[in-house]
Amino acid sequence: MTAALVTTGPRRRTRFWASFAVPGVGWLIAFFVVSVYAVMAVAFGTVDPVLRTAVPAWNPLQWDFAAMSDVLDRVFGGDLGTVFVRTFRFVALSLAGCILVGYPVAYYVARKAGPRRGLLLVLLVLPFWISYLMRMLAWTNLLQLDGIVNDVLQFLHLQDEPHNWLDGNWYTVVFGLTYGYLPFFILPLYSTLERIDGRLIEAGRDLGASSMQTFFRITLPLSVPGLMAASVITILPMFGDYYTNTYLTSGSPKTEMVGNQIENYLLGTSQPQTGASLVLVLMAFLFVLMAYYLYTTLRQQRMAER
């Protein structure tokens, strides 16, 4: 190892690895960073007086912060604050649901399924192949008053009367989000769990640990990176989701999420600056979450190096 280091040199090594990252980074700068800048230009820009379409202010010196300050007022202590808190609650609960259901499933498929693993993997990704909206429309069918869900629950005597699931309840939205994003949660977690060296677990058992102990002392800690990745991949898009709740509650104000407000401002009104400002606020908020993720992955990476 040391010999290799001497012959190649750290600089060349850096360049070698950098060359892998460069195309992707370049792509993101060209198409993503610049796009985000466009959002800022819209948020701090004006609208065309006649057509009311956005006129982006590309020059930061011409930025107008009126829409942003209005949005901030409403987020901190106004009506939009309610929407943010609600969104956060929905996402947190849905993540809990994803972990509760997704972890055992990923664990089973990755480590216990044996010869059925291939079949199960296909079944796990199968929902991907039918449009998300169509599945949500199908849920509205299953959940309606005389739908199958009520029939089953009544058959099992879990309830006496049909329950109106589509009444604009928070739990239906959490249910829908959990359902919709679970496949995205399970796959990355699966790939980590599948990777864990079985010998480590065997070793734990041989040293006398119970299966519970081996799980909590060995498997779970080793799967934390995958769990983190899976959580990031699922919750962040959830924050921008605006169709799941719309379809499952037919647009109840009780279940409105931030994404709905953004969508309305950008597509249904002549105030694109407000919509774009809201986008920036949401992104800033998510950035904090993301920074935490970044911080932990980097720390883990450093620990792995030692």
Partner: protein, 289 residues
């Protein structure tokens, strides 16, 4: 040895949860497929069965409506191209960022995550603006949609692959290097096979995201000739679209199942060559020899 271990009760519970989940996840798919056989226009309730939306209806059925054919081909082409470009870009970026340590790379690490936190609608609007105001040289329609999908999905690949890279650690690759492999060889012969499940997962996520995306595609579409299936599904506003879309989705489901079956077969081959622990050990042995 583990074969003789008593089967634990916990495994049975896990199996139960998994199969219940599978049923839960597939029930709506079955309902969506069933709706495609509706004789009326409803897309959410069940009506008496017919093949109206497959070929019975002379104008609006999947077989007769050319705009649906166009949309289907556009969707598949877009998803396939996105997959082919975003996956290698993302995997390379994950590997590079995992090893490359410098101030720039830390920034790039952060940058890579921002697209994930960006809601689709923001992507749609932002790209729409950028292409109309700035990159007007990029041909409109499919090329723009492709760029949008790649930008949107690439970071998912990076996150999935990096999760796995962290789990793998550096030791296998170092071992390969010690045995005389060049860096590229070590990546190709050791790292990539180890990453296969993560790459497979990425490809799935990329394909699924692209196939399902309607926000970005619809912002960047130039008209009927670049519409995708999700655009068709989501655009039913005043009037209302028909179960022909469910029929189309069912047809797509059959197509993709076939593709998945093929991919799974290829994947099994690959993992036989070096995906699991034993195979990897064999790979290392081969290198040293």
């Amino acid at each position: 040895m583990s074969v003789f271990r008593r089967k634990h009760g916990s495994a049975r519970w896990l199996a139960l949860i998994t199969w219940l989940y599978v049923i839960w996840s597939l029930a709506p798919v079955l309902v969506a497929v069933r709706i495609s056989f509706n004789s009326g226009k409803s897309r959410s309730s069940l009506q008496s069965p017919s093949f109206r939306w497959y070929w019975g209806d002379p104008t609006s059925s999947v077989w007769h409506d050319e705009s649906l054919h166009t949309a289907l081909f556009n969707t598949l082409e877009l998803a396939a191209l996105t997959m082919l470009i975003a996956t290698p870009l993302g995997v390379a970026m994950a590997i590079g960022l995992h090893r490359w340590r410098s101030r720039v790379s830390t920034g790039a690490n952060g940058l890579m995550l921002v697209p994930i936190v960006t809601p689709e609608i923001v992507f749609g609007v932002a790209l729409f603006l950028v292409f109309t105001e700035l990159y007007s040289g990029v041909p409109s329609g499919m090329p723009r949609q492709l760029i949008g999908h790649i930008t949107f999905t690439m970071s998912f690949v990076v996150v999935i692959v990096r999760g796995r890279l962290v789990a793998i650690g550096d030791q296998y690759e170092e071992a390969a290097r010690d045995l005389g492999a060049t860096r590229l060889q070590a990546i190709r012969l050791v790292l990539l096979p180890l990453l296969a499940p993560a790459i497979f997962a990425s490809v799935m996520v990329v394909f699924a995201t692209s196939v399902d995306d309607f926000v970005i595609s619809s912002f960047l579409t130039t008209g009927a000739s670049t519409d995708t299936v999700p655009i068709k599904i989501y655009s039913g506003a005043r009037g209302s679209s028909t179960p022909a879309l469910n029929a189309l989705a069912t047809v797509m489901l059959c197509f993709t199942l076939l593709a998945v079956a093929l991919a799974a077969l290829a994947m099994r081959r690959m993992s036989k060559r070096g995906g699991d622990a034993e195979g990897m050990a064999g790979g290392l042995a081969g290198l040293s020899g």
